[in-house]
Symmetry: C2
Subunit: 333 residues, 2 copies
């Protein structure tokens, strides 16, 4: 790495990044990047970082996994706003002895996901660190005015939906940590979800365009956290039907094998990168159309926003409070 | 820090950040921030990071210094594009035992500089690390189409100008490292330039608006590096007049006291955060007006871009090659 130097690494990036697409006036190589926004769109920007040993472990995530995930978590945030992703900036803090092949691997994973979603990598920053690798990605996109999906848009009586299945990433990480041989398809899917989350970009964009939800948030910090945040921001409570929570089959079996309640673990677990949506019952048709248009995983109704500000989980044996969400910072602290 | 948790820190940020200004539809608190661009401007985005022990040392930079500098280096990049800064995203990788008072200090320094330049902090990310503090700032701004200042715009015969005085930051860092008592005003100015660089925001914007330069770059990696980059991007060579390089008085004395050539050290030294400009001789009046309008430090003509692709420094005793620039990554590696 030292032998290659910052300029050598920059040259490696430039050689691999496609030329700037329409709308990007200046890409990599100047003091900053320049974009010509399309008429009458709003710009949506977000930033997220993955820190080695906190958010990923080199023992079971390849450099390409890390590059993929660093972009995916940002795409998930944009999807939760109903925004189409457009560009990304990559900022790395790199250990001095970091092999160039791993640098290339991070780039591979990031660029492959960027290409899949039409995202242009338009710049970034390379810094050295004497600590762990930190991969910081800033992502920008566009949405039409009044089409943005906020956490605060929910109203009492709105149904709550989640996309896909939940709990897989948390279960997959535990399988890796336990050295479990995730040989079956359902278990392998859990491990893959931890390594390479698949952000719901098409679904978020389709829902935003169709105005098919009043509020949205991604499940990066788990379902319980997302329900709490959407309800708080919307000034409502929420009631969740435990039996309806779509726990991924591999996760359900994994948690059961540990003697744990799968729904409780899924509510509290993080890194699902699915979407939580608040949708008035009369918008159900619109939501169905948007989902079909996006050709992404199904949606499951898991509860409602309530006038009563309490946050509750309904089970066969009665109601209980919504558990705390997953907090990277505290859990790992 | 652990006791406060991520949400507690987020609450501290929200309490201190002013409400979003016009143009910012959604600030801190949702999955992403939303901006309504003003009509017919281009968006300019950049990212930079400061890593503890690589870019700053807690022994002589306060948390507020670090917060200031993390934003300043980005504002300098935008200034070098002729862009008005508008918004920033703050992404921190924080050691688990980092005192909350230091977190507040970083925020103080960053928010004070943001307020001085009308920059809205619209979001960010908080992550834990078991390594050094990493302060990553993404900054966005606006410029009018065809008013952006690129590195590549220079032509043979353009005069090269730099703003302000150079070498102070490098000398100031050495004074701190040497435990030198920087008691005099000129020496104190050097130390201040290392700790809290003053980005040439008004100058860059005024020059961009007036089209008073054909190419521009900031001197984050030193004068020699900037001359090389602008000449290479413009397809020219460059000839620098050593006697004209405006070395800061404190730096001149410091380098002399070490038995070093002040101009050579200034060419190679980094972190000046002044601007290098390529200006056709006939645009001199425009440049003077822009400088006066910005009310920022003077400009000094230090050489020209040449048709011959060589990069040379002219001295009383003859010509020599331009030295290599400062490379954070390699020098610290």
């Amino acid at each position: 790495m030292g032998a290659v130097g910052e300029r050598g690494l920059l040259a490696r990036i430039r050689a691999r990044v496609p030329g700037p697409p329409a709308g990007v006036t200046i890409g990599i190589g100047d003091d900053a990047a320049v974009l010509a926004p399309a008429g009458r769109t709003h710009a949506v920007v977000t930033v997220d970082s993955l820190v080695e040993r906190i958010h990923f472990d080199r023992r079971w995530s390849s450099p390409a996994d890390v590059g993929h995930k660093a972009l995916a978590v940002n795409l998930s945030d944009l999807a939760a706003m109903g925004a189409s992703p457009e560009w990304a900036l990559l900022s790395l803090a790199m250990p001095g002895d970091w092999p160039v092949a791993e640098f290339d691997g991070v780039l591979d994973g990031l660029l492959a996901l960027a290409a899949a979603h039409g995202v242009a990598v338009i710049g970034g920053n390379l810094a050295r660190t004497d600590g762990p690798l930190v991969v910081n990605v800033t992502c920008g996109g566009a949405c039409r005015p009044r089409r943005v999906l906020l956490r605060s848009g929910g109203r009492p009586g709105d149904d709550l939906y989640v996309s896909g299945t939940l709990g897989a990433a948390a279960a997959g990480l535990e399988m890796l940590q336990a050295g479990h041989d995730a040989a079956g398809a359902d278990e392998a899917a859990c491990v893959a979800r931890h390594r390479r989350p698949d952000p719901r970009v098409r679904l978020g964009v389709a829902i935003g365009r169709a105005r098919a939800a009043r509020a949205a948030m991604d499940l990066s910090d788990g379902l319980a956290d997302a329900v709490r945040q959407v309800a708080e921001a919307s000034g409502t409570g929420a009631s969740i039907d435990a039996a309806a929570v779509p726990v991924a089959p591999g996760a359900r079996r994994w948690f059961a094998s540990r003697g744990e309640d799968a729904v409780s673990r899924t509510l509290a677990g993080g890194e699902d990168y699915e979407l939580l949506l608040a949708v008035p019952p009369k918008w159900r048709g619109r939501l169905r159309n948007a989902r079909r248009h996006a050709a992404e995983p199904g949606l499951t109704r898991i509860g409602t926003l309530t006038k009563d500000r309490a946050l509750v989980v309904r089970r066969a044996d009665g109601e209980g409070p919504l558990p705390d969400g997953f907090e990277h910072f505290r859990r790992d602290g």
